[in-house]
């Protein structure tokens, strides 16, 4: 599903260059549930942005679903995001002026589906997250867990092959977090590849595979061999503290 | 608390200079345009003699053709001017009014010593003219009642013509040849330029006041006739004597009546006068002698150009648009500050306190813009005056500056209410959490 080869990303400020991602090599097979972990500033968000085609990179190659997406135009990468990737954000990112139905509708509009097709997809997705009865509610009228479920419905409605989740339970209490996680597992079991960024080891353990990022570098950990390969060094602790 | 709110407002203005300047510019533009147009309208349509105009009455007698009314569209209206005979007998020679003036505009020749003669705009009138219309003097005064009675050739000069003839000097007592007659200067006016020539709206209401003023008693002896509208239904008005003796109307009559009883007395005097004339063969229509207060007269004759009225409506709508703009700007500015307000609320500021704080800031913005706007209006009126070739037409006076300032406060309040209400409804908690 995802293949990164020697991928690097550099952030340039006025005088300083920071390597956000350094020489990343990674393959995620279709149907995997991968958890990406790492302390703040380790490059998790950069990783997610690059994999989600939200941001470009400077060196290396990225194959998404077999297609080289290294040098895509903005338009093409937008289309690709829309068709292949579903996003779940830490702060839900629902559009406050739109009701639940219209929120789920947003990516489908860009897909260019017909009204009937969209309606079926939206209601199906909302049904699957248990919010079929709340289509007319606005985000502000929903709890955090419900909002995130709307976000999941929005991510799923377009039937993406890849689901990218950015700290999906970061703003939720434990009970709600569990509910969301179970939902993700179900989705994964139905065949959707999931890449989830989190700093919660508890959560990461539920994934089929864990990846650790540190200073933009990858440390791969197989889920079925939970070896503590990664032990924070003094430097890393320092980084965490500073950022 | 007010001091603290003012301080907060001032700090806020300084913290967002771009947005604040835009807001101030919006209100300045609105107030500038509104004050300019309101001033123009006020000078054209406002009371030319505040506190006095309701005591001044325009005199009209129905001396017209027995066969048909003067104005067939308004048959109830008497002619808009007077015949010479009636102006003399019913206005000049009546002792009832506190003051009275019969008058007309003429063009006479001034013969300055050693220079080419030129024609000057002249008002031929009685001495009460100056007191009646509160005309400002720089030197001297109107010719005396005795001089008027003796028919002495005395003249009052406008400021401009005095400058032209005598420099800036006090010319009272000096002489000047007008047509073929030597006149003595009795007085010199201070600069005087009402926007509307309110005492004679039928012969060029937008014109400047005349350049020289000579006694009415000299009109007939010198054979002076009017330069202005003459209406007649009879014959023989084309010659000089004909004009004086015929039924042609070409003079204006004004009286100052200090009380209702005085007005009634004068009205019955007029009716008796026309009854008497009727017996002698004139005034064959039924009595229709009207005393109309100055402003009602102006209104009836539509002396104010309609465009001045629409200008005022348009200017106020313009201010409305600027206020709406201000609402948008303030809303943006305040809501961007919601987190800070959340902190203030959490620290114990009541809704009312937040509301007042922001309203004060709006008013501060408005006052800044209003001052700039009034200044702008002053500049624009200056440009307009220059475009109108030296006539000082439109000047900001205290009441107009006050009006501009009042509009400013209202605009600030109206524009500030909604944004201030929105920002004071920000709950204290939300924005703390997000910090």
């Amino acid at each position: 599903m995802i293949r990164l080869e020697h991928l690097s990303k550099i952030y340039r400020a006025a005088l300083v260059e920071t390597l956000a991602l350094r020489d990343l090599d990674l393959t995620v097979a279709a149907g995997e549930f991968v958890a990406v972990m790492g302390p703040s500033g380790s490059g998790k968000t950069s990783f997610l942005n690059v994999v989600g085609l939200l941001d470009g990179f400077d060196q290396g190659r990225y194959l998404l679903d077999g297609q080289d997406v290294s040098r895509l135009s903005d338009r093409d990468s937008s289309r690709l995001r829309n068709e292949k990737i579903g996003f779940i954000f830490q702060s839900f990112n629902l559009i406050p002026d739109l009701d639940v139905f219209d929120n789920v509708d947003v990516p489908l509009r860009y897909r260019g589906w017909g009204a009937k097709e969209r309606r079926e997809a939206i209601l199906g997705a909302l049904e699957s997250v248990g919010l079929g009865a709340r289509t007319k509610h606005y985000p502000a009228q929903l709890s955090g867990g419900q909002q995130q479920r709307v976000a999941i419905a929005r991510a799923l409605a377009g039937r993406p092959k890849l689901l990218l989740a950015d700290e999906p339970t970061g703003n939720l209490d434990t009970a709600m977090a569990r509910e969301i996680l179970e939902m993700l597992e179900t989705i994964n079991e139905q065949g959707t590849t999931i890449v989830m960024v989190t700093h919660d080891p508890e959560l990461a353990r539920r994934a089929s595979r864990q990846i650790h990022l540190l200073d933009g570098r990858l440390l791969d950990v197989a889920a079925d061999h939970p070896r503590p390969l990664f032990a924070p060094t003094g430097d890393a602790a320092m980084t965490t503290f500073v950022s | 608390m007010v001091g603290y709110n003012l301080k907060l407002g001032w700090q806020s203005l300084r913290r967002t200079p771009v947005l604040s300047s835009l807001a101030i510019a919006a209100i300045a533009l609105g107030i500038g345009v509104a004050t300019t147009c309101v001033t123009i309208h006020y000078l054209l349509a406002g009371d030319p003699l505040p506190g006095k105009s309701d005591r001044l009455f325009y005199v009209r007698l129905d001396s017209w053709d027995p066969e048909r009314p003067f104005d067939s569209d308004f048959p109830e209206r008497p002619p808009n001017q007077l015949t010479y005979r009636d102006a003399l007998a019913a206005v000049v020679e009546s002792d009832i009014p506190a003051r009275k003036a019969a008058m007309f505009r003429a063009r006479l020749y001034l013969h300055p010593e050693g220079a080419q003669p030129f024609s000057a705009d002249t008002r031929v009138t009685t001495r009460d003219f100056f007191a009646l219309f509160a005309v400002p003097f720089r030197f001297g005064d109107a010719w005396s009642a005795e001089a008027e009675a003796r028919g002495e050739a005395q003249v009052v000069l406008s400021a401009e013509i005095n400058r032209k003839l005598f420099g800036e000097a006090n010319s009272v007592g000096r002489t000047i040849k007008i047509d073929q007659q030597i006149f003595t200067v009795a007085g010199v006016l201070a600069p005087w330029r009402p926007a509307l020539k309110f005492y004679d709206i039928h012969n060029g209401s937008e014109r400047s006041p005349e350049e020289i003023y000579i006694p009415f008693a000299l009109a007939r002896p010198l054979g002076i006739v009017n330069a202005g509208n003459t209406s007649s239904w009879g014959q023989g008005w084309q010659t000089v004597d004909g004009k004086y003796d015929s039924e042609a109307v070409w003079l204006q009559g004004w009286v100052e009546l200090e009380s209702d009883s005085q007005k009634q007395a004068y009205q019955s005097f007029l009716d008796q006068y026309t009854d008497g004339q009727r017996a002698a063969g004139r005034f064959q229509r039924k009595n229709n002698n009207q005393l109309q207060p100055m402003r009602a007269w102006h209104q009836q004759e539509e002396a104010v150009p309609p465009s001045a009225k629409s200008l005022m409506v348009i200017a106020l709508a313009f201010l409305g648009i600027c206020a709406v703009n201000l609402i948008g700007l303030l809303l943006g500015k305040f809501l961007a500050r919601a987190p800070e307000v959340g902190v203030r609320r959490a620290l114990g500021a009541s809704r009312a306190a937040v509301f007042v704080q922001h309203l004060v800031e709006c008013e501060l913005t408005a006052v800044g813009g209003g001052l700039a706007g009034i200044l702008l209006s002053w500049g624009v009126l200056g440009v307009i005056n220059r475009a109108l070739e030296g006539d000082v037409h439109y000047r900001l006076d205290l009441p107009m500056i006050g009006t501009g300032f009042g509009l400013t406060l209202v605009a600030g309040l109206v524009a500030g209410l909604y944004p201030a209400w929105r920002i004071c409804s920000v709950p204290p908690a939300t924005h703390l959490k997000l910090q």
Partner: protein, 400 residues
């Protein structure tokens, strides 16, 4: 493409859009009414006078101050001498004497009646007493009948007249006006011998501006006289100088003032022009302020929705789709504003009609104004909307 959700989002979050609706509505109402007034003023100011080539038609005002010239016979002979002198100036095509000057704001008017209806209300009869060569000098077009005969000018009584077509229509609604008679100056009936196509009388902004009649004579007034002088194009400047010298050489006891008809027109319309300029300034400022207002509110709404835009981008919206979103949103809001504005425009027009004697708004103007503001709305939204397209999709993953 996504009208439904855009509209529903608008309804949900009205405040800022209500501002635009109000602003566009007010602006349309005011601008349309201002432009209407402006065009009315323009129409009056630029209405053709019927006089050919006003630039090369000079009006000469002579005002005698020498008492010698008060004598009627002396005055008459001097005037005839003046005309001869003027005719002989190089560059002069034709000269006539006239009792009044078209467009000047002062002239003579006498009530006219038909001989058979002496009791009827008179028709206003602005008139010009003219001498030889008047047709050529005025440069008006004689469309029917004949000019006055040479002997008519010397006659003491008024027996013949030439009417503008407008006056002829008003006086004789039926039948051929030529040869018909009317009564004026309380005299014997006057016969219509000719018609001129059109000429504006001395009061161009009055309702009866195109009513006029001409009668032959030797206009003589004690205190002033007017000559009209038609000059060869391009020579007006030199002729003006020469006129002054020629007339003062004939008799120096008087003043001479020369103006071209273009200047006469400008002076008459000075106040109108002043109001027109003021209105134009208000219109320009208003459009400017409205554009700023729309740009300001939209810009603010873009800033407020940065995260939302990033999310949409992340969910697959292209830059073009973001641009379109804001343009469509503005179009919806502006459309609503324009509906409000059209209603307000007619309301304002009604008020102005009642209090300031305005005329009805032409529908074409309202339509034009509507289109203008629609385009203005789109154009001013373009800047903030383009800024919105620059919001990168990574905004969506940024921590709040």
């Amino acid at each position: 493409m996504e009208l439904g959700p855009i509209f529903r989002a608008l309804v949900k979050n009205r405040t800022r859009f209500v501002l635009i609706v109000l602003e566009v509505g007010l602006a349309l109402a005011v601008v349309v009414n201002c432009v209407h007034q402006l065009s009315e003023i323009r129409a009056t100011v630029t209405k053709p006078s019927g006089l050919a080539d006003e630039e090369n038609l000079l009006r000469v005002l002579v005002q005698p101050f020498d008492p010698e010239l008060r004598d009627r016979d002396r005055a008459e002979s001097l005037r005839q001498a003046d005309v001869r002198r003027l005719q002989n100036l190089p560059g002069v095509v034709a000269v006539t004497r006239t009792s009044a000057v078209p467009l000047s704001g002062s002239g003579n008017s006498s009530g006219i009646r038909l001989p058979e209806k002496r009791d009827a209300d008179p028709i206003p009869g602005p008139n010009f007493e003219v001498s030889e060569d008047w047709l050529r000098t005025f440069g008006v077009e004689l469309v029917r009948g004949r000019d006055f005969l040479p002997e008519d000018y010397a006659s003491e009584s008024v027996a013949e007249a030439i009417l503008t077509e407008a006056l002829a229509r008003r006086l004789f609604p039926e039948g051929d006006p030529l040869g018909r008679q009317f009564v004026v100056f309380g005299s014997e009936p006057v016969t219509v011998v000719g018609l001129v196509a059109h000429m504006t009388n001395a009061w161009p902004d009055s309702e009866v501006a195109d009513l006029a009649f001409f009668y032959p004579g030797r206009p003589v007034y004690e205190r002033y006289s007017f000559y009209l002088v038609r000059v060869t194009p391009g020579l007006a400047g030199e002729v003006r100088q020469a006129i002054d010298k020629a007339l003062l050489a004939e008799h120096s006891g008087r003043t001479v003032e020369v103006q071209s008809m273009t200047e006469v027109r400008a002076e008459t319309f000075r106040q109108s022009q002043f109001v027109a300029r003021l209105l134009s300034a208000v219109i320009v400022l208003l459009v400017f302020v409205t554009a700023l207002g729309i740009a300001g509110v939209t810009s603010f709404s873009v800033t407020q929705r940065t995260r939302q835009i990033g999310t949409r981008r992340a969910l697959g919206a292209t830059r073009g789709e973001i641009l379109r979103y804001f343009l469509v949103e503005n179009a919806l809001v502006t459309a609503l504003g324009l509906v409000v504005g059209i209603a307000l425009a007619f309301g304002l027009n009604d008020g102005l009609a009642r209090f300031a004697s305005a005329t009805r708004l032409p529908l074409g103007l309202v339509f034009g104004g509507t289109v203008f503001f629609a385009v203005l709305g789109q154009a001013t939204t373009l800047v903030p909307a383009l800024r919105a397209t620059k919001v990168p999709p990574v905004v969506a993953t940024r921590a709040v």
